[in-house]
């Protein structure tokens, strides 16, 4: 059985999961190692991805790229104000694509996401000790066709075959449902770094059926940070009216401070900050309390509740009929978000599964099913938004309605307007509103090779097929002649086949192909991190562990160091595992000690 892993490609963090002998779990030697921050930093020798890249956000802001997911399948107009708040440069490219400019180079969001996926893939390969070719990748339920296509293209560039694209809330529901095995309606509230969606699923026996879904692909924890940044800027301006905040380093310091304030206010009711802005020669101090923060984010939380009302309407359900509310995404940790969800649904949400891991785990379970490893459940998902075409007067004519269960296929017949016309142009849109100006243009297709006939005589039947991934394909045939009409789809916001292949050729030149080499790199990095951890907690070890245990650890560190110089990745992993076993009591105590000392300082 060829393994299919699950990947949660997030705005802020990415991680993978699979089903091990003792059940589904994220892939990583420990919790920290399993998470790859979705951050890239350009260096002379190529991209750094993950934690090392994140560390360069302040020291090297122009070359460090994050929140790529928000750019996927979008154009400049849609991105709007996000662009000016990002410290890296975004430029317009052909067919409404955007690109990120780093130095003299330009990268599509697909290429950047591919780098993150490559990193996640390498990590998984290193830990599982096998090569990975197939994956289930998750996307926000409210991602439209262009955003889904972009995600799939990114995976292809990363050398991954995406067996299935699964909606994040659905993945979360699988992990939750298989855990709880309760029938009824479940609402999954998913607020991540950059996207929000709400889905209602019906669980009956083996079936997980998505009833309705709604959301906003441009709303998330990033926006909370931005609101805090704006407040900080306003406060600084009061004292220093001339202060300018446009340089990337200052922007990054403000963002990092805002993140810290947000996280602090999930644990306490008031927090103080103090930071330097070297470019402005300023030292800033102040404090933020929970009321201030809550009133800042209130409009955004209200927007999410609007979506909840909408989805209940679509599902034709009342609040009372919802049996459980499951939270997904890092931003659901924010206290006031949690409070408002609770008061909206009239019950405390379910938080038993880690909201950071639950999506990846669900995707891993779905991968296991697709690989043939089980058939004890089935996921029935829907297409979030209607698909259709432009008709006379700029109206949107729906061909596939929103919230239809997929896969699905519908056809529409077209004809010509003038004699001997041999081609027809059709514009494809996605959305729920009546006019195309309120919907998203997905692309245009040209029907060519129509036999020359009198106007209105040819009957071209166009099939719109949405596969189980929520992705549209279009095919056509002329009914009178039975001839297959040629169809050329020009994707907006997307890459053509040719472009993907070119990117892949380019990237393979840089790829380290040897599997053992890749594992060695991964394990050496892990070892360095483990050493740092031991060093930081060593004074606790001296109190908590006996001399003999400490000596064993020191010896094993030496063994690992020797192994790191060698070329055998599996031997290195074995020694690392051994070190992990030896230091486990230390990790437990170290954590316990930290908590203890924090508690004492509060008293």
């Amino acid at each position: 059985m060829e393994r299919i892993i699950g990947i949660d490609l997030g705005t802020t963090n990415s991680l993978s999961a699979t089903v091990f002998e003792d059940g589904p779990e994220v892939i990583g030697l420990d919790d920290e190692a399993s998470v790859t921050p979705s951050v890239l930093s350009w260096t002379d020798s190529g991209w750094l991805v993950g934690r090392e890249a994140k560390d360069r956000r302040i020291s090297n802001p122009e070359n460090t790229v994050y929140s790529v997911k928000r750019l996927m399948g979008r154009d400049m107009a849609e991105l709007g104000t996000i662009v000016k708040d990002l410290p890296y440069k975004i430029v317009e490219a052909q067919r409404q694509l955007v690109k990120v400019r780093v130095g003299s180079r330009e990268f599509t969001p697909q290429e950047l996401s591919a780098e993150i996926l490559k990193k996640v893939k390498l990590k998984a390969e290193a830990i599982l000790g096998e090569s990975i070719g197939k994956a289930v990748v998750t996307v926000p339920a409210y991602f439209d066709d262009a955003q889904r296509q972009s995600t799939r293209d990114a995976a292809r560039i990363a050398g991954l075959d995406v067996v299935r694209i699964v909606n994040e809330p659905t993945a979360a529901a699988i992990a939750y449902g298989l855990d709880e095995k309760k029938d009824g309606y479940v609402a999954v509230y998913d607020l991540g770094g950059g996207t929000f969606d709400i889905s209602i699923l019906k669980l009956t026996g083996k079936i997980f059926k998505v009833v309705a879904t709604h959301g906003n692909t441009q709303l998330g924890g990033d926006d909370f940070d931005r609101a805090v940044v704006d407040t900080l800027k306003a406060r600084i301006k009061q004292k220093h009216p001339d202060a300018e905040f446009n340089d990337p380093e200052t922007m990054q310091i403000l963002k990092k401070t805002a993140e810290t304030i947000k996280i602090d206010l999930s644990l306490t009711t008031e927090t103080s900050y103090s930071f330097a802005l070297p470019k402005l020669g300023l030292l800033i101090e102040g404090s933020f309390n929970i009321e201030e923060f809550e009133s800042l984010i209130a409009p955004m939380v209200e927007q999410t509740l609007e979506s909840c009302r909408h989805v209940l309407h679509e599902a034709k359900l009342t609040l009372k009929e919802i049996g459980e509310v499951v939270l997904v995404g890092g931003s659901t940790v924010v206290t006031s978000v949690r409070k408002q969800i609770e008061s909206f649904f009239g019950r405390p949400p379910h938080v038993a599964i880690d909201p950071y891991k639950v999506v990846a785990i669900g995707a891993g379970i779905q991968g296991h099913l697709l690989a043939g490893g089980r058939r004890d459940f089935l996921l029935l998902d829907v297409i979030p938004l209607a698909l259709g075409i432009e008709t006379l007067g700029g109206t949107f004519s729906k061909i596939i309605t929103g919230n239809s269960t997929i896969p699905i296929e519908e056809s529409e017949t077209f004809t010509t307007n003038v004699d001997d016309q041999t081609s027809i142009d059709v514009n494809i849109f996605q959305g729920e509103r009546e006019l195309i100006k309120d919907c998203r243009a997905l692309g245009q297709f040209k029907l060519k090779g129509i036999p020359a006939m009198k106007a209105g005589f040819p009957l071209v039947e166009v099939m719109f097929r949405v596969d189980a991934n929520g992705i549209l394909t279009v095919s056509a045939k002329e009914k009178r002649s039975g001839k297959k009409a040629e169809i050329e789809v020009i994707p907006f916001h997307g890459l053509t086949q040719f472009e993907i292949e070119r990117i892949m050729d380019d990237s393979f030149e840089h790829a380290i192909d040897d599997f053992n080499d890749r594992q060695l790199i991964e394990f050496r990095q892990t070892a360095e991190r483990v050493f740092r951890g031991i060093e930081q907690t060593w004074d606790i070890a001296e109190k908590a562990l006996g001399a003999a245990d400490r000596e064993k650890i020191q010896k094993q560190i030496e063994v690992v160091r020797q192994s790191m110089k060698g070329q055998d990745s599996q031997a290195l992993k074995a020694e690392l595992d051994m070190l992990g076993d030896l230091t486990r009591p230390l990790a437990d105590t170290a954590m316990g000690q930290t908590i203890l000392s924090e508690l004492q300082s509060e008293v």
């Binding site: 079936i207 209940l312 309407h313 779905q366 099913l369 089935l378 239809s404 269960t405 699905i408 097929r465």
Partner: protein, 209 residues
């Protein structure tokens, strides 16, 4: 309406659905034109048992879904995809009253030409008035008025649905009644018109259940 129970091509048991035989677990060869009611094992009528529809849909999905055929030979994989596309079309069409009415009318009218533009007397004028009112509301932030309009549209839809029930019953007894068929088509046109208007209402104007 007469409804002949089809038999399995492999084991000859009576089929519940045209797609699959639950007795011998065989995919059924698909005819060129497949009747969506037959797919869902329902008699051809406007009023349906929606629980029965839901139950069979789930049972069939558990057998046919491509997720269970990912590692199967290519031919079988394609068969499962095609079967599920048809199953979903049947399910999505029959569970929605407007779509179901449209499909049923298409089956009943066959080659009779019905006018797909006529609307009930006075309906268009009412719609123009509503559209104008809606245009004004969209520029204001009178949520309460928007919700009232949603309610009005929903009531109108329900009225049409009731007419469908009685009209389809008449057609059952006299399937050749062109006048009644055209009347159904007219109501259906009106129902579709209402839908388009509902689509124009923004989120804050939607009815809460």
């Amino acid at each position: 309406m007469a409804f002949e129970q089809p038999a399995c091509q492999t084991c000859e048991s009576t089929l519940i659905s045209r797609l699959f035989c639950f007795s011998c677990n065989a995919f059924q060869p698909l005819p060129r034109e497949i009747d969506l009611f037959e797919v869902m094992g329902l008699p051809i009528a406007f009023e349906i048992d929606s629980e029965e529809l839901e139950e069979l849909y789930q049972r069939l999905s558990l057998e046919l879904h491509p997720d269970f055929f990912e590692t199967a030979p290519e031919a079988e994989k394609r068969l499962s995809e095609t079967a599920l596309v048809i199953l979903n079309r049947a399910y999505n069409t029959l569970r929605d009253s407007t779509l179901r009415a449209g499909y049923l009318l298409f089956l009943l009218a066959k080659d009779k030409k019905l006018d797909e533009r006529t609307l009930p007397v006075g309906f268009l004028q009412q719609m123009f008035n509503m559209q104008e009112a809606l245009d004004e509301l969209l520029n204001s932030d009178d949520t309460a008025a928007l919700i009232r309009m949603s309610k009005d549209l929903q009531d109108r839809h329900k009225k049409i649905e009731t007419s469908f029930v009685s009209l389809f019953k008449i057609i059952e007894d006299s399937p050749e009644d062109l006048e009644k068929l055209q009347q159904l088509q007219t109501y259906l046109n009106a129902d579709r018109y209402l839908r388009r208007l509902v689509d124009r209402i923004p989120e804050n104007g939607l009815l809460q259940n």
